[in-house]
Symmetry: C2
């Protein structure tokens, strides 16, 4: 069995083409310059991981990204689950144009004010200057509002439950892969209802769907809650969010759901004849989850070795690395494909790493760890002779648990449960991490200390000006008023005036 140096990299003595392979950025032969440790520079760690694990590449224009197959597959897995939830609840997918007349955006005053600084504008097309500039959608409330007005006449047309999977553009000053890119992918739900009750039910349905996707697929124990007025979506009456804690203690907003009241209905004349024949304004909602979610997965679970992917979102849940050279490699590779077929039949996404003979086993092991594959199976001649395969989890789910050997005949039966355990372990670990880095605080000193590396639960007066002061001093913002928060009253942690929300607010630095 060939075994590389302990860091798994092929040494300086390797043939030129092998070293060349290691330097390349090609699809499978990874460049391993090493990942910056999280503790040293979390932001550099993040960039190293997203690029070296081949999730993305930098786009040709500042702030854009190329989502590579390994990253896009994660998005497809999120899409499949969320799309099924959306359809099951009666929504229908549609596709609205990406170019929106500038005049549409101006109809809702808060909305245009919020989005104006981030717009990309098409001024020329077909070789001519356009009469009216076209905005590339930053979100689609305005264009969809126009059609809701056209399609809705009667209470019988409500609720109107639409969704679209689309790309949107927001010109970002401080772009970060997945988290803030000028173009990103998302779904945006847009619905119209007879009244506030029905629209609020919808708003909270979407929030619940997002929480389920986060917890069940991404193993992210997000906290659902309402945004404070200062953090609302531009044009919304109420904004709800799910907030996840990243491993540097910051919060990530992973999905939002907005009750828009009649703001857009007024701006676009979305009205209907009610059962008594009265013309009545509809109440609308909108809600979105985006490729930003992938950034959340990376920062919730990743470590100094690289990515850690929850099995339900892993493009490869299991990678089999056949070991040995020449005839031995033929035998182990053939056996690896047999195992792969059994695992595939058991519903497992599996990959056999047999196309890179120039790389050492140690390199491959490190490579798949860096790319976050939950379970690795190592298959050498000695394993086959002993009727076993060596199984290594990306992280030990039990203290001190290292590699273990599994009888070849039991692999397909046992791996699905091992993956489920790993999924559950990641959620539990993230929950424990969040709890360990969250504290209720009642003094300003305790507040500043807590938000330096975690979440502070604090009473707040509800004034946006006070939020602004907190942000200026600590970079922390109110992330949400947690839905499940216990009742609490008292003085604002910052200004001392009476608290506003009947419970503590989560404050944190955020992405």
């Amino acid at each position: 069995m060939v075994s590389g140096p302990s860091n798994g990299l092929v040494g300086r003595g390797a043939p030129a083409d092998v070293r060349r392979g290691l330097r390349s950025s090609s699809l499978w032969a990874v460049s391993r310059e090493g990942v910056t440790p999280q503790s040293e520079d979390f932001s550099a760690w993040y960039n190293d991981v997203v690029l070296q694990s081949l999730l993305v590449d930098r786009g040709p224009v500042r702030g854009t990204m190329v989502i590579r197959p390994y990253g896009y597959r994660i998005w497809e897995l999120i899409q499949a689950d969320l799309d099924a939830k959306i359809k099951e609840a009666g929504h229908e997918n549609a596709c609205f144009p990406m170019f929106i007349p500038e005049s549409y955006l101006k109809r809702e005053a808060e909305h245009v004010e919020g989005f104006s600084p981030e717009l990309a504008v098409v001024t020329h097309a077909g070789g001519k200057q356009l009469e009216e500039p076209l905005v590339v959608r930053p979100t689609s409330e305005t264009v969809i509002g126009e059609y809701m007005a056209k399609w809705i006449d009667s209470h019988r047309d409500l609720p109107l439950l639409l969704n679209q999977w689309a790309n949107v553009v927001r010109w970002e000053m401080r772009p970060r892969m997945f988290l803030r890119t000028t173009e990103f992918l998302w779904q945006e739900g847009h619905t119209a209802h007879v009244d506030e009750d029905d629209a609020m039910r919808e708003t909270l349905w979407a929030l619940d769907a997002y929480e389920k996707v986060s917890r069940e697929l991404a193993a992210m124990p997000v906290v659902p809650g309402e945004k404070t007025p200062g953090e609302r979506f531009a044009g919304a009456v109420r904004t709800y969010t799910i907030e996840g804690m990243m491993r540097d203690g910051r919060a990530l907003q992973a999905g939002t759901s907005h009750y828009l009241g009649t703001n857009f209905a007024k701006a676009f004349e979305i009205d209907y004849q009610d059962e008594n024949g009265e013309l009545t304004l509809a109440h609308t909602t909108s809600w979105g989850m985006s490729t930003r979610m992938i950034g959340g997965v990376i920062m919730t679970h990743g470590d100094d070795k690289g990515l850690v992917l929850p099995p339900r979102l892993a493009p490869y849940q299991v990678v089999i690395v056949p070991l040995g050279r020449k005839e031995q490699a033929e035998t182990t590779t053939a056996k690896a494909h047999e195992l792969a077929a059994e695992l595939k039949a058991a519903g497992v996404r599996v990959h056999v790493d047999d196309k890179r003979p120039q790389l050492s086993p140690g390199f491959k092991f490190n490579d798949w760890e860096m790319r976050g594959v939950p379970v690795r199976l190592e298959l050498g001649m000695r394993d086959i002779d002993g009727g076993v395969v060596t199984l290594a989890r990306r992280l030990p789910t039990v203290e001190g648990q290292g590699k273990e050997q599994i009888p070849l005949g039991e692999v397909a039966a046992r791996v699905p449960a091992i993956l489920e355990d790993f999924q559950a372990f990641l959620l539990r670990r993230a929950e424990e991490f969040r709890e360990a880095h969250t504290a209720a605080v009642d003094t300003w000193d305790a507040f500043t200390e807590q938000v330096a590396g975690g979440w502070a639960l604090a009473l707040h007066c509800g004034q946006t000006s006070c939020e602004d002061e907190i942000k200026a001093e600590t970079a922390a913002t109110p992330r949400c008023i947690p839905a499940a928060g216990e009742a609490a009253e008292g003085a604002c942690v910052k200004c001392g005036t009476p608290s506003a929300y009947g419970k503590r607010v989560i404050f944190s630095k955020s992405y």
Copy 2:
């Protein structure tokens, strides 16, 4: 049982809110001003059908469209099938940025010349003028070429098999819903290979996949073949196409696959070290199928009553219309939902039309015929008492075959086969139509007469200038050199010089 006038429209004596319902453009209550007959004005028929069947609405900007849920579902069904084929053959989905630096397009001379007139350009973003204008992708060879160059080093990195599902923008002078819209949805495959042989295998694989989707899903008996040099994609060495015949005798190009040779590899430096360590140019391909396909389905199968959808692409394969009023309606609606549950369990996409009590049964029957639903089940008290349901196909698959009654207990068992028969019938009918409207011609008079209402199989000299003359005189263009065409030689039907392709070329007016 309530029964409307023979045309199914509610009469003038109907209550105001019912008439209002009929005039509305809301999601389910269709505006039925009637469809222009195909024979009178095929183009007007097409517009009537796409709008009245609720597939699309006109977009806010000239040349754009809103794909409504009923139309988008058809696209999702095409996507699901084609995406599975693409993945099965080893391709991986990715997502490249929509904004392409103008300079990228200029690197391949023919490519930029071909697309320049159709480009939409972003000149301002984030409140500032951009240093370099950004083109909204008309197709992605250039941006993907840039990354292929970056990702490919060695022969081990090849083939590189990428695909993306995306929106693209081509500013159209003569827009038509689905067929030519300024923004449309498509998939674009982009692959790189070690040599011409491998790249040509890929090019023809994609063509074959498109033919299968067309025949098997869309019941469109398309003809695969190669484009003449004058009709090639801008930058391609060879362009292949599938051409379908529409019911006005014109051709529709429903998918194309291009062997790009080393044209883009040269422009973007897509090279690799071969097994001997030599730096070698890769050979690339690209191929695409778009929402235009939906236009092809409409014009292949539709008739004066409206849409006719092949079951495999029908959002609703079966619609059940419960009949009767009050208590009777309760009974028939309950039974309809029972039947729907049985059909759903049998894998049938089924809808119960029970939310429009204000509309007459006749109106509903016509409405679902106009919307192209393959099978309608009418369920009245008399049917239930007799233990049957009345089944009506959108078109009689056997001459003179009208409605038939099916025992309630046999519906779920028999409907899947009825749908399969209907699917096969549509393909057969379209094949017969194409054969009846295709003829080999050897004189110019016969040519002009044939292309007035169908396809002409003619010998051609292969000169682009001669193609241009034919187009100027008859509006017909060479659609393809059919792959399965018989060997033939002789004089060009237009200029009399010797023919070029060793077989006849299909000429036709086209979309």
